[in-house]
Symmetry: C2
Subunit: 632 residues, 2 copies
Amino acid sequence: MDQPNRIPVPFPQVTITDAFWAPRQAANRDHGLWAVYQQLQATGRIAAYNLDWQPGSDQPQPHVFWDSDVAKWLEGACYSLITHPDPALKAEVEHVVDRILSAQQPDGGINPYFTVVAPQDRWTNLRDRHELYCAGHLIEAAIAHHQATGDPRFLHAIRRYADLIDRKFGPDDDQIHGYPGHEELEFALIKLYRHTGEKHYLEKARYFIEERGREPHYFDLEARARGEAENRPAPRPLEYWQAHKPVREQTEVVGHAVRAMYMYSAMADLAYETQDPSLLVTLRTLWHDLTSKKMYLTGGIGSSGSNEGFTQAYHLPNHDAYAETCAAIGLIFWAQRMLQLDLQSTYADVMERALYNGMLSGISLHGDRFFYENPLASHGDHHRQAFFKCSCCPPNLNRILPAVGGLMYSQTSQEIVAHLYIGSAATFNLEGGQVTLIQETDYPWDGVVCMRFKMNQPLNFTLKLRYPGWCQEARLYLNGEAISIGDHLEQGYICLDRQWAPGDEVRLQFVMAVTRVYAHPMVKANLGRVALMRGPLVYCLEEADHLVPLAAIRLPREAGFDCQFNPDLLDGVITIQATANAVDLSGEGQPLYQPTPPRTQPVKMTAIPYYAWDNRAPGEMRVWLLEDCLPH
Amino acid sequence: MDQPNRIPVPFPQVTITDAFWAPRQAANRDHGLWAVYQQLQATGRIAAYNLDWQPGSDQPQPHVFWDSDVAKWLEGACYSLITHPDPALKAEVEHVVDRILSAQQPDGGINPYFTVVAPQDRWTNLRDRHELYCAGHLIEAAIAHHQATGDPRFLHAIRRYADLIDRKFGPDDDQIHGYPGHEELEFALIKLYRHTGEKHYLEKARYFIEERGREPHYFDLEARARGEAENRPAPRPLEYWQAHKPVREQTEVVGHAVRAMYMYSAMADLAYETQDPSLLVTLRTLWHDLTSKKMYLTGGIGSSGSNEGFTQAYHLPNHDAYAETCAAIGLIFWAQRMLQLDLQSTYADVMERALYNGMLSGISLHGDRFFYENPLASHGDHHRQAFFKCSCCPPNLNRILPAVGGLMYSQTSQEIVAHLYIGSAATFNLEGGQVTLIQETDYPWDGVVCMRFKMNQPLNFTLKLRYPGWCQEARLYLNGEAISIGDHLEQGYICLDRQWAPGDEVRLQFVMAVTRVYAHPMVKANLGRVALMRGPLVYCLEEADHLVPLAAIRLPREAGFDCQFNPDLLDGVITIQATANAVDLSGEGQPLYQPTPPRTQPVKMTAIPYYAWDNRAPGEMRVWLLEDCLPH
C-alpha cells in the first residue's frame, strides 16, 4: 500500500479564483441552490418532515428517496456557507434542519416515508427502499452542517440515528445481516468515523461492505421473509446492486452505475483506513474494466437507461447514452479516493475528464437547469429541466460544485500533490510549517500554469505535479530555469523534491492543441467517427452553429483547426473551427435512390465545449463526427 | 385517362416454369399453406366458426381479425388448387368453407367475434374492430373458391353477407354513414362486382371511398355514440386510418401502411371502373410521395412500428424498419392496379422491387417461416417465426405466391404488355385470336429474356416490353435482328407494333451488372452508405459469410465485384463478392480512446440477395454498407 498518510486537501483550504470554476460556483450559489430548494419545497420534500401526511390527504405522499434529495441540498448549501457566508441561505438551512430534527422518532430514526407511509415495512426491504441510502446522505449533511456552523445539534441527532442503525445491523443473532440496496451509507459512516473518531462507525461500514454479496444472499432472504414467492424472480439480477458476489471477488463493473461508484468509493475509503491490499487489488481491476471498456469520452458512465447502469464492454451508444450526472459525480468521488491510496495520474485524468465534461454538462450555465442523462448525441429533443421526479442529480451538483477545490490537491506531511490546475490559492500544513500555493492559469483554455509559494521560511518538501494524460508536449521552468520533465516523472506526476523558498515560481506549459480522438474499434457507435478534444475538454457540434444538419457533416482527416476565445459565447469559450465536408441536402427533386453518390460541399464547422451544450436554441448535438475518410 | 380497357392477365392464364418463382410457389404449396393451416387450427381460428365459445370457456376467445386470416389462407389455397389440383388440400378447403357457412347468421352475417363474443357491439366501432375488413377478405375468399371449384355455395352465402352490408351502410337515413376502419372491403366489393356483374357492389365501394374523411368524421360520431367522452382523444390521429380528409384531398401517404395500400388500390379500381380522372390525379400524387420519400430500397414501406406505418419524409431507419410484409404486398396490389390505369414503367419497377425483395423476404426458402417486419439491418436478433399473434402476413404470402403470374402481363384486345420477366407460358385472347407467349429466361440471375410466340396465324398487335428501371444498358433482337430500343420507348415500355407471326422470337438482353445505389441525402440512416443491387435484387451482407462483425466492413468506392452462381447456397443464388476494408477489431489491449485511428485490413466480402437472409445460422445482416470514402 502506497503512502497511507496522504490526504485530500479539503476545499475550505482552497480558494478558487479563476475565470472558469469560480463563475460556475457562483451560478450554483446564486441560482442552483435556490432553484433546487424551491423545487424541494414545491414538491413536498421539505413538508414531508411535518409527518402530517395521511392516506387520502391532499399532500403528496413522501417517497422512499426524498430524504436523500433534501440531504444533498443541505450538504451543498452548508459547503457554500463555509466559503461564502449568506444569512438568507443560512436561515433556510436552519429551517430545513429544524424540520428534519422535528421528524426524529424516539428511537433516533429519521425517515418520513417509514414514519407515516409504511412504518410496518421499516427495514424489511433494504434492496429496494433506499432507507439506508437516505440515512447515509443525512449523515453527510449533518457533518457538513457541523463544519459550516459549528452547531452540533444536527450531528448529535444524526449520530443517534447512526447508532440505531449500528445496533440494528450486524453479525449478531439479534441483528439484521443486511446491507444497503443503494450503497452510500458505507462511506458516510467512514466520513462520520473520521469526523468523530468513533471507530464503531468504521467497523459498521466494514461490516456492510464485507457482508455484501455473501451467500445466502440477504436480498433473497429478505424477499422470502416478506412472503414473496420462492420462485418469483427478483426484479433485477443481483448484479444491479453489486450484490452478486463478495466484493473482493468482483472483477467487472456491473449494475446501476451510481450504486457501483458509491460502493467502490466506500471500498477505497475502507482500504485506506484498514490498509487492506486485497481491496486495492480489486479496485484496480474494477477501475481498469471501467476505464478501458465502459466509459464515455466525457467520463459519463452507465450506458443503459434500463438499469441506469452498465451493459457489456464497449457498448457505448451516443444518442441513447444514459451517462447519468450522478454517475459522473460518483466516478469523481471514486477517482479522488484512489488518488489517496494509489497515486497514479490516470485516476486524476479520469477525474478531470468527468469533472469538465460528464459532470459539468449536467448543469446549465445559469446554474438552475439540469441534465439527468448526458448523451453524446442528440436529435434535438434532449433538454435540461428544472427538476425531475427522481431528482438525485440537481442536489448532487449543488454539493459537488462548492467542493471542487477539494479535488485539486493531496498532501502528506512532506509532499504536496497537484491533481488539477485551477487558478486558486491553497494552504497546506506541512511538517516544517504552512505553505500557501498560488496557481495562476487560464486552464482549461490555456495550458500555462504559474505556481508561486508563500511561506515564512524555506522548507523541504516534494511537489508532485500531474502530467495530464491529454498532453503530448510540456515544458517546466523552476524560477525561470528549464527543467527536464522526463527526469522527474513518476506514475504520471512530475516530482520535484527540494528545499523550497518563499517566492519560488514553477511554470508549467502544457501544450494545448486540438486532438483528434478515436474510440476502440469495438465501440460500434463510433466506427468511422472522430471526436475533438482540447486539453481536458471534449468538444461537440451544436445545431445553433450550423446551417446544415449535423448528420451531413464529415470532418476530413487532414483538416486544420482554428481555435478562438469568444468572450460573449456561452459565458466565454474557445471554439474549434474547421472546414468540413457536408453532403448537399438541398436537392428536393432528387430521386430516393440513385447510382450517383450525394454531392458534398465545404462548410464551416464550429465545435463548442461539450459541457456548454443546450444553453442556446434547442437543436441537434453530436460529439462523435463522421470522418472523411478511413485509410485503406 | 389512359386505355380503360387494359386488364391484367389473370394468373390461371400464366404458367410459371422458371427456376426462381416455380420453387417458391412449390414451397408455398408443399409447406407454406399447410404450415399456416396448422396454425389456424392450433390457435382456434377455424374452431371459432363452431360458435361454441362462451365467457369462461377453455377455448380461445375469437378475435376481431381472425376471419381475415382464415379467409386469406382460403384464398391462397383456392389459387393453388386452380393451378395445382390437390385432393388433400381441397378437402381441407371444403372443411373450412363448411365451418364458415355453418356460422352464417340468419341475416347473412359471418363473424364469430360479433356472434358469440360481443353481438351487442356489432357495427358500433368500425374504426377499431375490423368487421368490414374481415367481410372483405371473406368476399375475396369466396370468389377464389368459386373460381377454383365452380361451386357457387360459398359465393352465394357471402353475397348474402355483402348484401346485408350493402343494405346496412349508405347515405340513407336508416343506413350507417360509416366506412371500414381497415380498408379492404372496398376493393373486395369491386372484385365482387367484376365477378358477378352486380353494379350495386361497385356503388357501395364508391360510397365507402367517397364518404371516407368527410366531416363530421364518422369515427368521431361513432365514438360519441358509444358514449366515449367528448374530450377523450381518439387513440390515434385520423391519419392513421387515412380518414382525416376526403380521399381526393389527400396528398401525402400517411398512417397505417397496409390500410393505406389497400385504400389506394381500391381508389385505383374505382378510378378504372368509373373513369374518374380526379382520382387518378390524387393517386399519382400519393404515388410520388410514397416512392420518392417513404419507400425502402426493398420496396418495404411503413418505417415505424408504433403506427405500423408512415412517418415523415425520408425517415427510413434500417434496424428499426417496420416494413411489414403485408405492406409490401399491398404496394404490389396498388402498383399492379396503377398499371392498368396509367401505363408507366415506374409502377412496374416498384412492383418488381417489392416482389423480389420486401415481399419475398417475408417467407423462408422452405416456405413455412415468416417475417412480419422486414428490417434492412439486424443485430442478429430478428428471425422468422412460424406464426404471429397478429398473423396477417403468413396467409397474405399464401395468397400472393400462387398468383405471381397474374402480375406479369396486362392486355387489351390489341396489345400485350409485359411488366415482369419470368420463365413462363401465357395465353392471351386478342382481337384476332389466341396467342401463347413463351418466356425463357434465368431472370432474376440473368437479363437475357427470350420470347417466342405461338399462334395459329399471323396477328397484328402491339407488344409492350418494360425497360426495367434498374437497367443501364440493353439490347433487343427481333428474329435475330437488332432493333433500336430508343426508337420504341414509350413511358418506359419498348413498344413493338407489327404483325406477329408464329415462331417470331424477341430476344432482350438487359445487362445485369452490380449497381451501387445511394439514398437521397435526407435519409439520415444511409448517409455515407451504399447498397448493392443486381438486376431487381437488393443484396445484403449476412454474418454467416463473414469472419468480422458487419459494422467493421467498409466497401471502397472503387472496389470491383465478382458475381457467381452458387447452386448449393440458399436454393441457388448469385453472390456478389468484393474486397472490402475491415477495421481490425482484434486488439484487446487497445485503450478505449486514443489519437490514432483504428487499423484496417482487407477482407473478402460476400453479399447475398436480401430475400434469402435469415435462412442459415442466425446473425447480423445489413443492406446499407459503410462506404470508403466520400469524395471531397
